[in-house]
């Protein structure tokens, strides 16, 4: 009986010791969290280096792209002019081999081959070539190159073909860029009118701008060819990215409960939930869709959403807090 009791006692002590250990570990973890919080809370000016470094690097990438290719973006045929052929194929196709085969017949053209399909299934192949779509012979050459490379008879399958004249591609590109700039300015105007204070509004606009520039640079680095759908994605990004910035700015400037830091933390909770839901939806759509148009929109959005985390919660927060500090020196407490 006593033996047993002793054993039990020992067991209990062990338990207690383990418990203490866990508590200690927890405390250590907590202190790490606290350390991070401390850095986030106090060193916000220093942290600003990261988003701005990211912005500068992105601008550098875009500058390099312009220097190398004369264009700040890699345009696909919908913005450059050319021919897109969509062929439904249900068997597996070696894309690189197909691309090389077609390239060997069109050495002077930009040829891109992609699969159409989702999650392992193959619905078809898309071939893009920046050849002159109004030149019937060249289009025919492309079609026969595809036929021989794929080993199929195109007249027997229901293929789709899209032809865009090169002047039109260029004009679409200009029109889309203008739309992008106008959209951005209108967004800025709405924000300015709403907040009626210069620095916080500019902070929101700069965050939106950084999201777009960083996403553009990443898109360039990944070698993604951007089409009209991509332009739409960048526009969507304006909407999504300023959502969190607006949330933050409204909570910090127009609320009175708690400290500024409390309001920022509550904004992060709400904002990160927003970002997470958007991210899962985007990833699911990206994996499931068969449409190249939608996939491109989703990839660009995903990149933008990642960039937005840094740009909202470090860049925008940092600028906002500097502004509040300056106001406090003037005797205005926010």
């Amino acid at each position: 009986m006593e033996e047993q009791n002793k054993e039990q006692n020992n067991e209990q002590q062990k338990h207690i010791a383990e418990h203490h250990k866990k508590e200690e570990q927890k405390e250590q973890k907590k202190s790490l969290k606290q350390k991070l919080f401390h850095i986030y809370d106090k060193k916000y000016k220093m942290l600003l280096i990261f988003p701005f470094l990211m912005l500068v690097l992105a601008l550098g990438q875009i500058g390099y792209q312009v220097y190398k290719t004369g264009d700040f973006i890699k345009r696909d045929v919908s913005l450059k002019g050319g021919v897109t052929v969509t062929i439904p194929v249900d068997k597996a196709v070696d894309i690189t081999q197909l691309e090389n085969l077609i390239k060997s017949k069109f050495p002077n053209n930009d040829i891109a081959v992609r699969t159409l399909g989702s999650a392992g299934t193959n619905a078809g192949v898309i071939v893009e070539a920046d050849i002159d779509g109004n030149n019937k012979d060249e289009v025919q050459n492309l079609l026969s190159a595809i036929e021989s490379s794929l080993g199929i008879n195109l007249s027997k399958v229901n293929y789709g073909i899209e032809i865009i004249g090169s002047s039109l591609g260029a004009s679409f590109f200009r029109a889309s860029l203008r739309a992008l700039v106008v959209a951005f300015l209108l967004m800025g105007l709405v924000v300015m009118i709403y907040f009626r204070t210069f620095v916080p509004s500019i902070a929101v606009i700069v965050a939106g701008f950084s999201d777009m520039v960083v996403s553009l640079a990443v898109v360039n680095m990944l070698g993604i060819r951007v089409g009209t759908a991509g332009i739409a994605a960048f526009l969507m990004l304006i909407g999504y990215s300023v959502d969190t910035d607006i949330l933050l700015t409204v909570r910090v400037l127009k609320r009175r409960e708690g400290t500024v830091m409390d309001r920022i933390i509550s904004s992060i909770k709400t904002g990160m939930t927003e970002t997470m839901t958007a991210m899962v939806a985007v990833v699911v759509a990206m994996l499931v869709t068969q449409s190249e148009v939608i996939r491109q929109i989703m990839i660009i959005l995903l990149i933008g959403l990642f960039a937005d985390i840094l740009n909202t919660w470090i860049q925008n927060v940092g600028i906002l807090r500097i502004y509040i500090e300056k106001q406090a020196k003037k005797g205005i407490i926010i």
Binding site: V190, A232, T277, V284, V288, S291
Partner: protein, 577 residues
Amino acid sequence: MNHKLKKLATNWRIIILAVFILMSLIALHPTLNNGVAIRSVLTNSSASIAGIPQPDPSVQPVSRERILSINNVPIADTKSYYKYISSLRVNKTIQIKTSKKVYTLTTKEKFETIELNETEEKIVNEIVQSNKTINGTTQLINETITKKIIVPKTQQISKGLEDLGLGVYDAPSTNIRKGLDLQGGTRVLLQPETKLNSLDINVLIDNMKERLNVYGLSDLVVLESDDLPPPFGTGNQYIVVEIAGATEDEVKDLLAKQGKFEAKIGNETVFRGGHDILYVGRSSQDSRIEGCNPTGNQLACRFSFAITLSQEAAQKQADATKNSTVIYDPSTSRSDYLSDKIEFYLDDKKVDELNIGADLKGQAVTQIAISGSGVGANQQDAVVNANLNMKRLQTILITGSLPVKLSILKTDAISPVLGEGFVNNSILMSLLAILAVAIVVGIRYRKLLIAIPILITMLSEVIILLGVAALIKWNIDLAAIAGILVAIGTGVDDQIVITDETLKADSSGAYGWKDKVKRAFLIIMLAYLTVVAAMFPLIFAGAGLLKGFAITTIIGVTIGVFITRPAYSAFVEVMLK
């Protein structure tokens, strides 16, 4: 709980949402329609002769005429339709039962006429109209002349059954209008070579529509789509033509034609369609089918209608005929006509020629008759064709030629095979994305009472958005699906804001529910305005290629902010207060 449910059911914001969902469902009209819907009826085919009407594009998809059975064999889908059609024989009577009535068709044989290396002599009676001046006024005179002509011998070879002339597609189960990339078809982007004013462009669009309709293509969209003028846009002018279920070649062929009508004497253009023509007779007195004559194994019916020329054009005609010689026809021993003929050209292709009465030499006549013909296997077909050709010519003469030449900038031919996969895939994608969002929300709040309403709100937004699209006859294409996703995405963001604002522990207790909701809506309205501001320029840019995306997004977020968001906040207020 009961008390809360009652409160929910009587909350006006929730009632409004319920009403909108109900109206959307009515607009969408989901049905289990069987059979195949009729997309097009080819003129002069067995189907059109049996009286099957060309479908009206403004009719909602679910209400379109559907083929239910042929000879009492039920037709379930396009596959079974084509399978049954391929078993048909020539010259048999078949009964097609549609959702509207029963039609009796006679199948036709398809012939190919080949010319042999021999000639034969034929004697034909021909009615010729000529313009003559009697007592100083110009009149139209019909004359019957008998002519001996030498024609090449022809032989007709049967090519089996002629197509019934029906274009069909699987019966739609809702009123959602699928865009071109979801159902297959052709989209052509055109640009006028010179910039047109709004009046001219409307004439151009009407003219194009009429022409395409004449060829039995009715499921079509022709619209102007311009960029904003500089500095906001490039100021380019575009015309978009979308035709469901038509091949690229058909459309290109029709659109490339300018519809330029010219009347020439010798090499001199006497008058042009649109410019020089003051009046085109279209009443039964001014226009008619003249009579029919056999040509080969077919019948040709002639039509004629009167037009009034401008004085200037009449003078040109007089100048052109001044030096013509009167020819003597030994077979009739008369000298009725001038050596020069007046020739009509449509898009630089000669479509007809008329003799010019000898007494018109050097005369400035403003009243003249235009004639042409239509060919068919029997009298009925020939008359129908003659009428068709006459109408087409009249259209061209009235509206003039297309005011400018159009250049084709972009053609998309989308195969329906790809389209079908896209639809199912897009539905799957949207549902999975919505589910994924609901799961994330569920994990974050650990409350079904929040996750489920957010899920319901997302789904009801999709339903209302599709309902509105069906109501305003808006086509749902891939860009629009992307737009729906954005709208739902920002919608979820807003729901999260509402949830956090209202659930937030409020230490001071200074804010009531109303204030909290109001504060949430301050953030939501601003986010809404920025999305609208960002999408707005896209409506007017780049030939409207992303217009569908922009408009769907704007409609979607608007529905969200004014209908579903208030309902959600009402729900949260009642259930979680």
